[in-house]
Symmetry: C2
Subunit: 205 residues, 2 copies
C-alpha cells in the first residue's frame, strides 16, 4: 500500500512479491481458490493460503475475518454470473424456452469449468452445508428455480415429473464439473455446447 504521494507505509513484507496483482485481498482469494479446489477446504490451513499469497499467516486477518469468509466469497462469486445470466434469460420472452434453456446450460458449464481453477468443484465440498454459506445456497436455489421454469416452458411437464426432469438436468450440469476435473484438456466451449445438447435430450425436447 502507498500514500497518495507514493510513499510506502507499513512494515515491509518478509518476502517481497514479484509482480502479480497488487491487491492483497485478491491474492488471498486466488490462493484459496487453488488450494481449496485441489486439497479441499478442511485440509487447507490458513498458513498455506497466506504464504501462497505472499504474506505471513497473521497478516491474512488484516484482510479477511478468517477461512470461512474466503470460501463464502469464492462460492458467491462463482454462482453470481450464472444467476445473472438466468435472470436475463427469464425475461426474454421473445426467444423460445428451449433455446433459452440451452443457453443457460451452456453458459453455466462455461463458468463452472472455464476459470483457472475448477471452482465448480467447491460446490461439492461437504463444508458448504454449513450455516455460514446460506447465502450461496440461496443463490443456487434461485438458479435451480430458473432451470425449472425453463424446463417447464420447453416441455409442458408439471408437478413431480417436472421436478424430476429439472433435477436430472441440474445434476448433469453439476456432474460435468467432475468430468472436467478428470480430463481438463478438452476445450471448454466445445464441452459446454455438448453438455447443453445433452441437457436438452434429458429434458426431453
Amino acid at each position: 500500500m502507498t500514500t497518495p504521494g507514493g510513499r510506502r507505509v507499513g512494515r515491509p513484507r518478509a518476502v517481497e512479491r514479484a509482480g502479480k496483482g497488487a491487491d492483497p485481498r485478491g491474492e488471498l482469494l486466488g490462493a484459496a481458490a487453488e488450494l481449496f479446489t485441489v486439497k479441499g477446504y478442511a485440509a487447507t490451513s490458513t498458513r498455506a493460503v497466506a504464504e501462497r499469497a505472499g504474506m505471513r499467516q497473521a497478516t491474512m486477518y488484516h484482510y479477511v475475518s478468517g477461512k470461512e469468509e474466503l470460501l463464502a466469497e469464492l462460492l458467491e462469486s462463482t454462482v453470481a454470473p450464472s444467476l445473472a445470466c438466468a435472470r436475463t434469460l427469464l425475461t426474454e420472452d421473445g426467444r423460445g424456452a428451449r433455446e433459452r434453456l440451452w443457453e443457460l446450460c451452456r453458459a453455466d458449464v462455461e463458468v463452472l469449468c472455464g476459470g483457472t481453477y475448477n471452482l465448480g468443484g467447491l460446490y461439492l465440498l461437504p463444508e458448504v452445508r454449513g450455516e455460514r454459506f446460506a447465502g450461496f445456497r440461496t443463490a443456487r436455489d434461485e438458479l435451480k428455480a430458473a432451470y425449472r421454469e425453463l424446463v417447464a416452458g420447453a416441455t409442458s411437464l408439471e408437478g413431480g415429473e417436472l421436478d424430476l426432469r429439472t433435477d436430472l438436468v441440474f445434476g448433469l450440469i453439476e456432474g460435468v464439473i467432475l468430468i472436467h476435473r478428470s480430463d481438463p484438456t478438452r476445450p471448454v466451449s466445445e464441452f459446454a455446447r455438448a453438455t447443453a445438447d445433452a441437457a436438452l435430450r434429458i429434458a426431453g425436447v
Copy 2:
C-alpha cells in the same frame, strides 16, 4: 470378544454398547461412513469415529491402521458391486448393448444412492486423489471403461465423440449423487430408472 467357552476377555468398555452389530470393525466402518459423508473426511476426527462406534479413540487402532484405511475400505466397498455388475453385463452378448447400458446405469445409481448413508458422496471428496486410494481409482476407471464399451455398442460412435458421450453419461451418474443428497425423499428405484432413461437419451439411442 469372547473365548470359545463364552467368557469375556479383555478390559470392559467404558461405555457398553447396546445391541448393534457386535463386530467392532464393522461398527467403525459404519460410523466412518456416516461422519465422512456428512462432515467430510478431513473434518472428521478419529475421536469422533471411535466414540460413535462405542469405543475410545485409541482402541480404534486395534482394528484399523488409521483413518485412511477406513476411507479406502469404504470407497472400495462402494465401487465393487457396480464393477461386478458391469463385468457380468459385458459378457452377456445375448442382450443388446442398449439394454445392458440401461441396466448398468440403473444398478449403479441404485448402489450409489441406495444405502443408509450417501456413500456415493465419498467419491467427491478431494482426499480421494491421494496415493492411498489408487486401488479405488483403478476400479472406478475399469467401471468407466465398461460404460464406454456399452455406449460404443449401443451407438456405433468411436474416437473422441465416443469419449465425449461416455463422459457425459458417466457424469450424469455421478451427478445424481448430488441430486439425491439434496432431496433424499424420492424413492431410489424410481429415481434409478429415470436416470437410466436419461442416460440413454444422452448417449443418443
